[in-house]
C-alpha cells in the first residue's frame, strides 16, 4: 500500500507474511512490518519510510552529510551487498539507535547480543550480518555523527542505504497491468481442463491465457498452466485462484528414494531436451529408469587405480544433503512492454545480455529490437542466470493484450520455482597407503527435479590432485521443479562428503587432519593457506576430538575447497570520456557482487582517477556485450577489458590534448598527461575535448586458457582458487543446537582488487554455507509434490544471531599469467563451509553428521548413538580443557 499508492518504493516486500523485515517502516516511531498491515490501521498515524529518514536529499547524487548516522555507518562498514534488505535494516537500526543513545554516552557501544536481538526480525540472503552488527554498534557509539573519513567502498551503496536504488519490483511503467499464474496443485498430473469463466468475469481482469494444452503432462507441482492479467496484483491473484484446473493424478516420486524404488513412476517417458541445472555443458549419458549416468569426471588411469585401491577402503560412508533454495530477497520479477515491434523487459536477472539474446531467439526478433534492463538486482546466487519460462509468458501476454505486464512472484513461488541446489547422496570411500591417501572413490546421485546436470565430480577432480580418484555422477530425475546452478554448483555437497571422509580417515587413524591434507596439496596457494592457518591459535585444536560429557561441547573443524577460474571470453566494456568525466558502460549487472565497484575501480586504476568520480552504467543489454554474472567471472572479465580500452582512450586523449593545449613531449601519465612543461590532469583535457570513446575486450590470459575453446562464451582459465575454512562450534547436547562461534577463512585467489567488497562477498558465502549446513531445507509433500516450506518462517535462512565472528584472510599473491593476477572469489567462499562445520561437530562430540542440515533431531539422534563414548586415547586426559563449559 505504501509502495503502490504513495510511490515510496524504499520499503521492500520480500516475504509478504511478516518474517523477513524488508518492509519495515516506523509507525509512531516504532518499527513495524508493513506487508500485513491493513491500510485502515494506518489512518491518523505517523508513518515514516526509509525515504523520510534519509534527510532532505536533493535530486542527483546522494548527499552523505544529510544521511542518518546509521546510514553512514552502513556505508562505511559495507553492511550491504544487493541492498534489498537494507532499507528494512536501516529503519530498524535507526529506532534502535535512538533508544540506545537516549540512555548512553558517546563511545558506549551496545553489546552484540543486544544488537542481534533488536535486528532479529530481519533476514539478509546475501549474509551481510557481520558488517551490519559492526555498523550498528559504531553508530550507537556515536562514531558516525560526522562526515565519513573516506568514500564508501561500494559505489552504489549510497542509493541503497536511502532506499533510492531501483530494483525491477520498483519500476513503474505507465498503464502497467499485473500478472498472476494459475498452477497445477499437484505433481505427476495430466491436464484435463481449465475453466476460466469465473475468473474472466471478475472486474479488472484483462485476460486469461492458457499456457498448456489438455493432455499435457505436468511433472511437478506449481507448474504454470495459465496466466491471468488484471489491473492490479490483488485482482490477478484472486482471479488466478478462481480458475479451475482439472487434472488426473498419477503416482508421485518427488525425491530420489521414491524415484529409484522398484516400480517407480517414470518421470519422462520420452525425453526431449531436458532442463539443465548446471553451469557446465551436460554430457550425454545412458538412462536406467529415472536415473542417468554415470558421468565420469576422473582423469585417465586414475579412475581404475582409485577403484582398485578403494576396494579395501580405510573408511567409506554415504553423505546426503537437502535442497537449498536460492531465495534471493528480490524475487524473479519482470515487466514486459511492447512499442511497435520492439520489446523492453525489466527483469531481475544476472544476465541482461543473455536474456535479451534468449528473448530475441525465442520471439524471433532482431536483437536490436529487444532491450533488457536491470539497474539493481536484489540477489541472485545463480538462480537468475538461466532462461525463466515466465519471462517468455509475460512478454507474450503483453503482446497479446497490448499492455505492459508485470509479474512479481510471491515467496511461495520463489521458494518452489526460483531455484535450488540439488539434494545429493554421495558415497565416498578412501583408501590409505601408510599415512597418505592412495585412492578416493566418489559416486554421487543428484536430484535436479525434472532437470539434469547435478554434477559434483567435475569439481572434485580439482581437489587432492595427486590422489587417484574415481568420480561418477548420476542424475536422478524426480517430480520436483528444475534445480538451478547455486553459487559453487556441486561444490558444497561434494566437499561436505569428501572433506568429511578425509577428516574421518584422519580421526580413525589418529592422524592430524591438517598434515594428511597438506601432503596432498602441492599447490603453492594451498601451502600458503596452511602456513597462515598454522599461525592461528586454534590450529592445534583441529586434531583433537572432544571426549567431554557436559551439556556444551566445543570443537574445531577444517574444510577445504578449490574452484575453477572462469572467464567470459571476449566480454566488452566501453569507456567514454566527455566533459562530465569518465563513464564506463557494459551490458553487465550488479546483484550485490560489486560489479559497479569493480568497474569504477578498474577505471580508476587504469586511468589514475578517483573511482568515486567514475560513472558506471550497467544493467542495459543495449550496451556493449558484457559478461553474465555467474561462476565468479564478472570482475576477472571486465577488469582486463577496461584496461584494454584504457590504452587507446589514453592515446586519443593525449593526442587531442597535446594539440588543443599545445603540450610538448606529451605522454599518458597517472591521472592525466605528463609533458615537458609539467602535468595536465584528465579533467582539464576533457573540459576542452570532444567526446572520446574506446571499446575494450577481455582477451585471453597471458598464460592461455586450460581449454583453448570457450564454450558458450565461458573459458576455463589456468589455475584454481584455494580456500580453507576453520570453524569453531559449540554443540548444545540438551537442545540439539549447533552454534558456529568463530570462523577463520583463508582464500588464495591471487590479487584482490577491492578488498572490502571481496571480504563482504566472502562472509556472505560463509553465511550461506552455514545455512546449508545447519538450517536450510526445502520440504516437499511426498504424496503431491507440493512445497511445504513455502515461506520464510518454514524455510530457515540463517539470521543475524547465527552469524559467527569471522576472520577473512586473502593470500593476495598475484598469480602469474592471469590478466588480473587473480581468480574469481564468489563460489569458492561457500564451498568448504558445510564441511568445516560438520567436521567441527565431529570434533566437538565424536559423532559425525552425515546428513545436512544438521537439525536438532538429527543431532540428538546422533549423540544417542554415542551412548558409550569411544575410549579416549591413552595419554590424553578425558576432558580436553577447552572442550566443555
Amino acid at each position: 500500500m505504501i509502495r503502490e499508492r504513495l510511490g515510496l518504493t524504499g520499503a521492500k516486500e520480500a516475504c509478504g507474511h511478516g518474517a523477513c523485515g524488508a518492509c519495515t517502516v516506523l509507525i509512531d516511531g516504532v518499527p513495524e512490518v508493513a506487508c500485513i498491515k491493513p491500510a485502515s490501521h494506518l489512518e491518523g498515524r505517523d508513518v515514516r519510510t526509509i525515504e523520510a529518514l534519509s534527510g532532505a536529499q536533493p535530486a542527483g547524487p546522494v548527499d552523505l552529510s544529510l544521511l542518518h548516522p546509521v546510514q553512514r555507518a552502513f556505508l562505511a562498514e559495507d553492511a550491504l551487498q544487493c541492498g534489498y534488505c537494507t532499507p528494512g535494516f536501516v529503519v530498524e537500526a535507526i529506532a534502535y539507535y535512538r533508544s540506545w543513545r537516549a540512555a548512553h554516552q558517546d563511545g558506549e557501544a551496545p553489546p552484540l547480543p543486544d544488537v542481534e536481538r533488536a535486528l532479529s526480525g530481519h533476514l539478509c540472503r546475501c549474509g551481510a550480518y557481520e558488517a551490519i552488527r559492526v555498523a550498528v554498534q559504531g553508530a550507537c557509539a556515536g562514531a558516525f555523527e560526522g562526515p565519513l573519513a573516506a568514500a564508501p567502498p561500494r559505489v552504489d551503496g549510497p542509493e541503497k542505504v536511502c532506499g533510492r536504488a531501483k530494483y525491477t519490483v520498483d519500476i513503474d511503467v505507465p498503464a502497467m497491468a499485473e500478472a498472476a499464474f494459475v498452477r497445477t496443485p499437484v505433481a505427476a498430473a495430466t491436464l484435463t481442463g481449465i475453466d476460466a469463466r469465473a475468473a474472466r468475469a471478475i472486474p479488472g481482469v484483462l485476460g486469461v491465457l492458457r499456457l498448456v494444452d489438455d493432455g499435457a503432462m505436468l511433472r511437478h507441482a506449481a507448474q504454470a498452466v495459465a496466466i491471468v492479467v488484471a489491473e492490479t496484483r490483488d485482482i490477478a491473484k484472486k482471479a488466478a485462484r478462481a480458475v479451475e484446473v482439472a487434472v488426473t493424478r498419477g503416482p508421485v516420486a518427488c525425491d530420489m528414494r521414491s524415484a529409484r524404488a522398484p516400480g517407480a513412476p517414470r518421470i519422462y517417458v520420452r525425453r526431449g531436451k531436458l532442463p539443465v541445472s548446471s553451469e557446465m555443458p551436460v554430457i550425454p549419458a545412458g538412462w536406467h529408469g529415472n536415473e542417468r549416468g554415470p558421468l565420469r569426471s576422473d582423469i585417465g588411469e586414475h579412475g581404475g587405480q582409485a577403484r582398485k585401491a578403494t576396494a579395501s577402503p580405510a573408511m567409506s560412508g554415504v553423505w546426503t544433503t537437502s535442497a537449498q533454495c536460492h531465495t534471493a530477497l528480490e524475487p524473479h520479477a519482470c515487466i514486459a512492454r511492447w512499442e511497435g515491434g520492439t520489446l523492453t523487459v525489466w527483469a531481475s536477472t544476472q544476465m541482461v545480455r543473455g536474456l535479451a539474446e534468449e528473448l530475441a531467439d525465442r520471439l524471433d526478433l532482431p536483437l536490436a529490437h529487444v532491450r533488457v534492463l536491470a539497474e539493481h538486482v536484489g540477489g541472485a546466487f545463480g538462480a537468475k542466470a538461466a532462461w525463466d519460462p515466465h519471462v517468455g509468458f509475460i512478454a507474450d501476454a503483453a503482446r497479446q493484450l497490448a499492455v505492459p505486464v508485470r509479474y512479481v512472484p510471491d515467496r511461495h513461488e520463489e521458494l518452489m520455482l526460483g531455484g535450488y541446489r540439488p539434494p545429493q547422496e554421495i558415497a565416498v570411500s578412501v583408501a590409505m597407503a601408510g599415512n597418505a591417501m592412495s585412492g578416493i572413490s566418489m559416486e554421487t546421485r543428484g536430484d535436479s527435479g525434472v532437470a539434469v546436470g547435478a554434477n559434483v565430480g567435475a569439481i572434485m577432480r580439482l581437489r587432492y590432485p595427486n590422489v587417484p580418484k574415481y568420480l561418477a555422477d548420476y542424475d536422478v530425475v524426480t517430480h520436483a521443479p528444475a534445480a538451478r546452478p547455486f553459487r559453487g554448483p556441486g561444490g558444497p555437497p561434494g566437499y561436505f562428503a569428501l572433506e568429511g571422509a578425509v577428516d574421518q580417515v584422519a580421526g580413525n587413524l589418529g592422524l592430524s587432519p591438517v598434515d594428511l591434507r597438506r601432503g596432498h596439496d602441492p599447490a603453492p596457494g594451498f601451502q600458503r593457506l596452511y602456513d597462515w592457518a598454522g599461525r592461528l591459535p586454534v590450529w592445534h585444536q583441529l586434531s583433537e576430538i572432544n571426549r567431554g560429557s557436559g551439556r556444551y561441547r566445543v570443537g574445531v573443524g577444517l574444510g577445504t575447497a578449490s574452484w575453477y577460474h572462469f572467464v567470459a571470453a571476449g566480454a566488452e566494456v566501453e569507456l567514454i570520456a566527455d566533459a562530465s568525466g569518465f563513464h564506463v558502460r557494459t551490458a553487465c549487472q550488479d546483484m550485490g557482487n560489486g560489479t559497479r565497484t569493480a568497474l569504477a575501480q578498474a577505471v580508476g586504476d587504469a586511468l589514475g582517477v578517483d573511482p568515486s568520480t567514475v560513472l558506471v552504467e550497467i544493467g542495459d543489454s543495449g550496451f556493449v556485450p558484457g559478461p553474465m554474472s555467474a561462476g565468479s567471472r564478472t570482475t576477472v572479465s571486465v577488469r582486463p577489458a577496461v584496461f584494454d580500452a584504457a590504452g587507446p582512450l589514453k592515446s586519443a586523449l593525449v593526442q587531442f590534448g597535446s594539440q588543443a593545449l599545445k603540450l610538448v613531449g606529451a605522454t599518458a601519465g597517472v591521472g592525466g598527461i605528463a609533458h615537458a612543461g609539467g602535468f595536465v590532469p584528465w579533467a582539464q583535457v576533457l573540459a576542452v575535448g570532444p567526446n572520446t570513446t574506446a571499446v575494450g575486450k577481455r582477451k585471453v590470459d597471458p598464460a592461455g586458457y586450460a581449454i583453448p575453446l570457450a564454450i558458450g562464451g565461458t573459458a576455463i582459465g589456468r589455475h584454481c582458487s584455494a580456500a580453507i575454512q576453520i570453524s569453531r562450534v559449540r554443540v548444545d547436547t540438551w537442545l540439539g543446537r549447533v552454534t558456529v562461534q568463530d570462523v577463520w577463512a583463508g582464500f588464495s585467489v591471487g590479487t584482490v582488487h577491492s578488498p572490502v567488497i571481496a571480504r563482504s562477498q566472502a562472509v556472505g558465502g560463509i553465511i550461506q554455507s552455514l545455512g546449508y549446513a545447519l538450517h536450510e531445507e526445502r520440504r516437499l509433500d511426498p504424496s503431491t509434490g507440493a512445497l511445504l516450506s513455502y515461506n520464510l518462517e518454514d524455510y530457515h535462512l540463517p539470521g543475524i544471531a547465527e552469524t559467527p565472528s569471522v576472520e577473512v584472510w586473502f593470500d593476495d599473491t598475484p598469480i602469474e599469467g592471469l590478466a588480473t593476477g587473480g581468480i574469481g572469489l564468489s563460489e569458492v567462499t561457500t564451498c568448504g563451509g558445510a564441511a568445516s562445520i560438520a567436521n567441527a561437530v565431529y570434533r566437538a562430540t565424536g559423532w559425525r553428521p552425515m546428513d545436512l542440515p544438521i537439525r536438532p533431531d538429527r543431532l540428538l539422534a546422533g549423540l544417542a548413538t554415542l551412548a558409550k563414548p569411544p575410549p579416549a586415547p591413552a595419554e590424553a586426559p578425558p576432558d580436553v580443557p577447552w572442550g566443555t563449559s
Binding site: 500485513i36 526480525g121 490483488d234 520440504r779
Partner: protein
C-alpha cells in the same frame, strides 16, 4: 465488508472474522485462505479502555487488545515466564502489533492447513483427512491426541496456562469470566478447532487471580524454546517452568494440538523423579507419534534447562 465497531457490545452484534492486530488475519486474507466480512477491533480502545489495559494488583489483568510488546515490562517480574515468552515470540516488528487476544486465538501454522492447494486434505481447513499424518509431520505434535496432529501455535497460551490464568469474554449475553484458559483449548481431541471460543464471542482479556507463590519475594519461573536458530523461529518445543511452594509446573507448547500442562510429569518430579524419568512417565500415559519422538529428548533438555534457570530465586 469491514466494520469498525466502537464498543464491544456493537462488535458482538456483527458477523464476520474478528481482526485485532491483523498479523494473522491479514496474511490469511491476502493469500486467499480467508474471505468474507471483517469485524476490526481498531476503534474499541476508545469505548472499552479495559481492553487495552494491563493492570497489576494482587494478580495480573491483560486486556485482549494489549500488544504483546507491552508485556515486556518490569511490572511483569512476578510472572517472569510470561514476560520472557512475550519477549521471545515472533519478531520485534510483529510484537508491537500483535495483541494478546490474537496471540491466544491465532490459527496454527501447519503447512498443509496454510497451503492454498492442500486444504482438501486437512480437517482444520474443512477438508476430510489429515494430510500431515500420512505426509510430512517432522515439526508436528509429539502427543497424538486426536485426528489433527498440528501443534498449538500460541506461546502466550503456554505461558499463561502455567500461571493458572482465566479468560473473560463478551457475547450477546453480556460479559463474564468464562473459566480457566486451559479450558479454552480443550484436550486436543477436536480436530476442527484451534480453540473452543464460539463464533461471535469476543475475548475481553485474561486474568491471573492467583498471586505468585511464595507471597514474599518472587516465585522463580522462566520460559524457553528449542529451535534450530536463536531468534524468530517457531519452536520445536517451548515451555514455562514455575517453581511454586506447592510444587513444580511444567507448561509446554509444541507437543500437542493444544497448550498443555504435563501434570503426570509434574507429580513425578515433585516426588523425586529425575526430569527424564518424569517425562518418560508422562509419555507412557500418552500416544506418541513416531516421527516426532525426538521431541521427548528435547522436552527433557528444555525442562532441565529451565529447572536450572529457576533453581534459585532472582
Amino acid at each position: 465488508m469491514i466494520a469498525f465497531p466502537t464498543t464491544p457490545t456493537a462488535a458482538v452484534r456483527l458477523a464476520g472474522t474478528i481482526r485485532a492486530g491483523a498479523t494473522d488475519v491479514e496474511e490469511r486474507r491476502r493469500s486467499g485462505r480467508l474471505n468474507g466480512d471483517v469485524v476490526d477491533l481498531r476503534d474499541l480502545a476508545i469505548g472499552a479502555p479495559e481492553l487495552v489495559s494491563l493492570s497489576v494488583s494482587s494478580g495480573l489483568s491483560l486486556g485482549a487488545l494489549v500488544r504483546v510488546s507491552a508485556l515486556d515490562t518490569p511490572a511483569l517480574a512476578p510472572w517472569n515466564g510470561l514476560r520472557e515468552a512475550a519477549q521471545t515470540l515472533a519478531t520485534p516488528q510483529i510484537r508491537p502489533v500483535a495483541t494478546v487476544g490474537g496471540a491466544l486465538l491465532q490459527q496454527n501454522r501447519c503447512g498443509y492447513l496454510r497451503h492454498p492447494d492442500l486444504r482438501a486434505a486437512c480437517y482444520k481447513a474443512g477438508g476430510g483427512g489429515c494430510a500431515a499424518r500420512t505426509g510430512d509431520h517432522l515439526r508436528h505434535a509429539l502427543f497424538d491426541t486426536g485426528a489433527c496432529i498440528s501443534v498449538h501455535p500460541s506461546t502466550l497460551a503456554c505461558a499463561l496456562i502455567a500461571y493458572g490464568a482465566s479468560y473473560g469474554v463478551q457475547d450477546r449475553e453480556g460479559t463474564r469470566i468464562a473459566g480457566a484458559l486451559e479450558g479454552l483449548y480443550g484436550d486436543g481431541s477436536d480436530a476442527l478447532k484451534d480453540h473452543l471460543l464460539p463464533a461471535g464471542t469476543l475475548l475481553t482479556g485474561v486474568h491471573i487471580f492467583e498471586p505468585p507463590r511464595p507471597a514474599a519475594g518472587f516465585e522463580p519461573s522462566a520460559y524457553a524454546r528449542a529451535t534450530g536458530r536463536v531468534w524468530a523461529e517457531w519452536p520445536l518445543v517451548e515451555a514455562v517452568v514455575r517453581r511454586t511452594t506447592v510444587g513444580v509446573v511444567f507448561s509446554v507448547g509444541g507437543v500437542a494440538p493444544v497448550p498443555l500442562r504435563l501434570r503426570t510429569a509434574e507429580r513425578a518430579f515433585d516426588s523425586g523423579a529425575t526430569v527424564a524419568d518424569a517425562v518418560a512417565e508422562e509419555c507412557a500415559s500418552r500416544l506418541i507419534l513416531d516421527d516426532t519422538r525426538y521431541k521427548v529428548q528435547l522436552l527433557v533438555g528444555l525442562l532441565q534447562h529451565l529447572l536450572e534457570r529457576t533453581a534459585s530465586a532472582p
